[in-house]
């Protein structure tokens, strides 16, 4: 029952994430899910969800396979670094983390553009998207953390 609840929660999360990504170009809606999983130290679900996130992002994207691997590795490392530095887990930490995510978004896009044979790197467009990503993370985290506490009370 518990496992079923988890699977349903994450299935709905993925569907909502895909729908959101179809409306907001360039946004990674699954990044917040990764934060939630790392916060809960839910490594069992992380083990199957991380490949799912990567395959979905690579499938719906237009670049060569690899950018999402770097992106999610960077997110995990940034989260771990943040926890190691601050040893807190609250909204302000997520706010700080979101700015790092935004910077990482731009950095990875810039780094991967030559590897992906992208003819011209659109710095302005990427900057806009990284800002949207940075703004999205704290809002979505706040909403999802609350919703998760309500949907999965024992695990919260």
């Amino acid at each position: 029952m518990n496992m079923l609840r988890h699977v349903c929660w994450w299935a709905v999360f993925i569907v909502a994430g895909i729908a959101l990504q179809s409306v907001v170009p360039g946004l990674d809606a699954f990044a917040v899910g990764l934060i939630l999983l790392l916060e809960d130290r839910d490594y069992r679900n992380l083990a199957w969800l991380l490949p799912v996130f990567i395959i979905l992002q690579e499938g719906m994207g237009t670049g060569l396979f690899g950018s999402s691997v770097v992106w999610y590795t960077a997110l995990v490392l940034l989260y771990k670094l943040g926890r190691w530095l601050f040893e807190v887990n609250n909204f302000f930490f997520v706010l700080l983390l979101s700015t790092w995510f935004g910077a990482a978004y731009f950095g990875i896009a810039w780094l991967m553009a030559p590897l992906q044979d992208v003819p011209g790197f659109d710095a302005q467009g990427t900057l806009d998207k990284s800002l949207i990503q940075a703004l999205y993370v704290p809002v979505a985290w706040w909403l999802l953390a609350g919703l998760r506490r309500w949907v999965l009370p024992r695990e919260a």
């Binding site: 569907v15 990504q21 395959i55 992002q57 719906m60 237009t62 992106w71 590795t73 003819p119």
Partner: protein, 322 residues
């Protein structure tokens, strides 16, 4: 007790000392792991670039799931929208019914009068009808989304047709107004279409009136298209329509693509600099047509007999000089 305390201190001291001696080892281990991961990633990236195995796998699975989810979301969205509309329709249905009845009577009278015009229109359309090219079969598709996810680097859209339903990679995509792009990658029931505005898009075109040929390339979102390699001194005027030439073998000949905005001699090379604007509004696409290749090769031969040769006599038939 003192003895215990001393032991504890000693233990603490030993663990601290161990930590200091372990730190370089941990750092070295971290570096080693990071290096190994980097090498593994670059190996995977290079292998995939050569074989496209992971791209195909992600396209097959990720794109298919995305397409299915988006089709489901669109169906739910349209269902809710229809229910909502029907509810509001019912509120004012009586008043609207009376209004429509009156309107229907008026339109019936008008239709009677317009019958003759309609017949004439049909005749004229028949006269203007172009020969159907059996090499391409049009298949309708719905646009599911625009550029998606952080890996959506190219200017693209996602459609609800895949390689098993008429959207194989390379298939040209059009609307009734003109060319949209071509299918870049496909899963069984979904596909990603590369738009003609993407900087990686190259289309062989010529101008409809002057027949000036060139290569149309995208310059990015909200940027004008550019025609390259158009010879200087050739007649291209603003407002002229550019159509596919079919010389690249990727698009059928004669599809309208863009309208010329400006044509000026280049300061850097011996070609014309032609700026153009797509005929299709690529930001507001809802439905598109895929031109699926039927495999029928259209003979590129003239229908009549070859024209009579006009020119100097051939060497074999040349008369000896007197």
């Amino acid at each position: 007790m003192r003895h215990e305390k001393g032991e504890t201190r000693q233990e603490g001291g030993t663990s601290a000392a161990r930590r200091t001696t372990e730190q370089p080892v941990t750092f070295r281990r971290l570096l080693l792991i990071a290096g190994t991961l980097l090498i593994l990633f670059l190996g995977m990236f290079t292998w995939n670039q050569r074989t496209r195995a992971l791209d195909d796998f992600a396209g097959m699975l990720g794109l298919e799931v995305t397409g299915t989810v988006l089709s489901f979301v669109h169906a739910v969205e349209s269902g809710i929208s229809e229910t909502w509309d029907h509810y509001f329709d019912l509120v004012g249905v009586r008043e609207e019914n009376q209004r429509l009845k009156a309107r229907l009577e008026e339109l019936e009278a008008r239709m009677m009068a317009a019958g003759e015009d309609l017949a004439e229109l049909r005749r004229l359309r028949k006269l203007l009808e172009l020969p159907v090219d059996e090499a391409w079969k049009p298949v309708g598709a719905r646009v599911l989304a625009g550029r998606m996810g952080p890996n959506g680097l190219l200017d693209s859209i996602t459609i609800n047709r895949g390689y098993s339903t008429g959207g194989r990679p390379g298939t040209p995509v059009v609307t009734q107004l003109g060319l949209v792009g071509r299918v870049l990658r496909a899963s069984p029931h979904s596909a990603t279409v590369l738009l003609l505005t993407d900087p990686g898009s190259r289309i062989a075109v010529f101008s409809q009136e002057g027949r000036v040929s060139g290569i149309l390339s995208g310059q990015g979102v909200h940027q004008h298209l550019e025609v390259r390699f158009a010879q200087l001194g050739t007649p291209v005027s603003p407002g002229e329509v550019l159509v596919t030439s079919g010389l690249d073998g990727k698009y059928p000949k004669g599809i309208p693509v863009a309208r010329v905005i400006s044509a000026e001699p280049s300061n850097y090379n011996q070609f014309l600099t032609i700026k153009a604007q797509p005929l299709v509004d690529l930001r507001n696409l809802e439905e598109v047509l895929l031109l699926e290749s039927t495999g029928i090769v259209r003979p590129n031969l003239p229908s009549g007999p070859p024209p009579e040769f006009v020119g100097p006599p051939l060497p074999a038939t040349a008369q000896p000089l007197p």
